[in-house]
């Protein structure tokens, strides 16, 4: 547990979080591993977990019928994968595909949601952090949409 707490405390996502809250979060955490090529989660399935990536790279993919999946972004070491666990209907919107062997901390979203409901201060702290990630990813997606390397005519 101590080791997990240290890893979680060192993650930028949880930076500055009160020790009491970290203890609560550690109670919902476990170490996981995914082989290269395996799927960590799939679109449409219940999103009851999110991941803090310790090592490896995860592709966020969109399923496209009659096409190969489309990789919209990759997430790597020190980053968080998944926020669908926090918002109804708690369902993954994308595939999470381990491009390399991935070591991660899995955080039980159901467990953490319950703790956030019981303790709104914790809930607010988590929400602020998740919103920041959502903002970054939205910025990145908008920038990607600009297609800056396309030929300007």
């Amino acid at each position: 547990m101590e080791n997990l707490e240290r890893i979680i405390a060192d993650c930028p996502f949880f930076a500055g979080l009160d020790h009491t809250y970290l203890n609560l979060i550690v109670g919902c955490a476990s170490n996981v591993r995914f082989e290269a090529g395996s799927y960590m989660f799939k679109e449409g399935t219940p999103a009851d977990t999110f991941y803090l990536i310790r090592e490896g790279k995860v592709a966020i993919e969109i399923f496209a019928p009659h096409r190969k999946p489309i990789i919209v972004s990759t997430v790597g070491e020190g980053e968080i994968v998944g926020w669908s666990w926090l918002l109804p209907p708690y369902v993954w919107k994308f595939h999470g595909h381990a491009l390399q062997s991935v070591r991660a901390i899995a955080l039980d979203g159901k467990c953490l949601r319950a703790k956030c409901e019981e303790n709104h201060d914790l809930g607010y702290e988590i929400l602020k952090r998740v919103v920041q990630i959502v903002e970054h990813r939205l910025d990145e997606a908008r920038f990607q949409q600009v297609d800056v390397y396309a030929v300007q005519r």
Binding site: A59, I71, T74, E140, Q144, V148, Y149
Partner: protein, 271 residues
């Protein structure tokens, strides 16, 4: 100001639309001295003249190397030249990258698309004067894996000591196992030491604006960030005014500027 005829020695296809041409002076003309970041005016006889950054090794003075993306009549004509063909060269022109200022510092190079071409001479320079520089970080973004320039060299640079090479593409295919996302997403993986670094940026202007903003957010001062600008250059010596950018002529006062110099102008729609 008169173009000096060079002959095409080699043509390398880098991507489906981008080619690297090596030119050498004809008629025993002298060596080609240039500073990393400088450009030449290339005259494709019968077609027109193009301002193109030099992308070769500044240590190899018997040749001039240019990487050009074929996007119009003149660039098409240039990249279609065959070995032995003659091309007119004026230059080199402009103020290049501050390789002397960067000496003793970490060098953070951020390139987007064909923007890696004007920065390649800096990489050659640093690698051939390795003891003069501290850490080298190269962050490179392209549209897709097939649009990446200098693939073999990227792999070789990544193996150099104290050098970090990070590559991303905006759109990755399924066989791509590297990063997918805009170039700014790589900054969080870079081993940055802003207080002892000089950053050099080249790519589409909008990309440089985002990168410069994010580097400033990481603690880089505006005077530590250098950008290579591009405008419609004609005379290349500050007479014609085609490349005027606020109070500057890109051809003569640049193309390399500090973010401190031009940052405020980059937010002006009219410029």
């Amino acid at each position: 100001m008169m173009p000096q005829t060079h002959s095409v020695r080699e043509v390398i296809k880098e991507t489906p639309d981008t080619f690297t041409l090596t030119l050498q002076p004809e008629n025993g003309a002298g060596a080609s001295f240039f500073q990393p970041g400088q450009f030449s005016m290339l005259w494709v006889y019968g077609v027109g003249e193009l301002p193109i950054s030099i992308s070769g090794d500044p240590g190899k003075q018997d040749r001039l190397v240019y990487t050009v993306r074929s996007v119009g009549k003149a660039t098409n004509a240039f990249v279609s030249q065959k070995p032995g063909a003659g091309v007119g060269v004026r230059g080199p022109f402009g103020i290049g990258w501050p390789v002397d200022v960067a000496r003793g510092h970490d060098l953070v190079i951020v390139a987007g698309g064909i923007g890696l071409a004007p920065l390649r001479p800096v990489i050659y320079h640093v690698l051939s004067h390795r003891a003069d520089y501290d850490r080298l970080v190269l962050i490179y973004g392209a549209r897709s894996p097939r649009d990446l320039l200098y693939r073999k060299e990227l792999a070789s640079w990544a193996r150099q000591r104290d050098t970090q090479v990070l590559i991303t593409v905006d759109y990755g295919g399924l066989s791509w196992r590297n990063h997918v996302g805009v170039v700014t997403t790589l900054l969080k993986y870079a081993r940055l030491r802003p207080a002892q670094s000089v950053a050099m940026l080249c790519g589409p202007e909008i990309m440089m604006r985002f990168v410069a903003r994010d580097l400033a957010g990481h603690g880089f001062g505006r005077s530590q960030i250098y950008l290579s600008m591009e405008r419609n250059m004609k005379c290349a010596v500050g007479f014609c005014g085609h490349c005027q950018y606020g109070p500057h002529f890109i051809c003569k006062d640049g193309p390399v500027f500090t973010y401190e110099q031009i940052g405020p102008m980059m937010d002006k729609y009219e410029l």
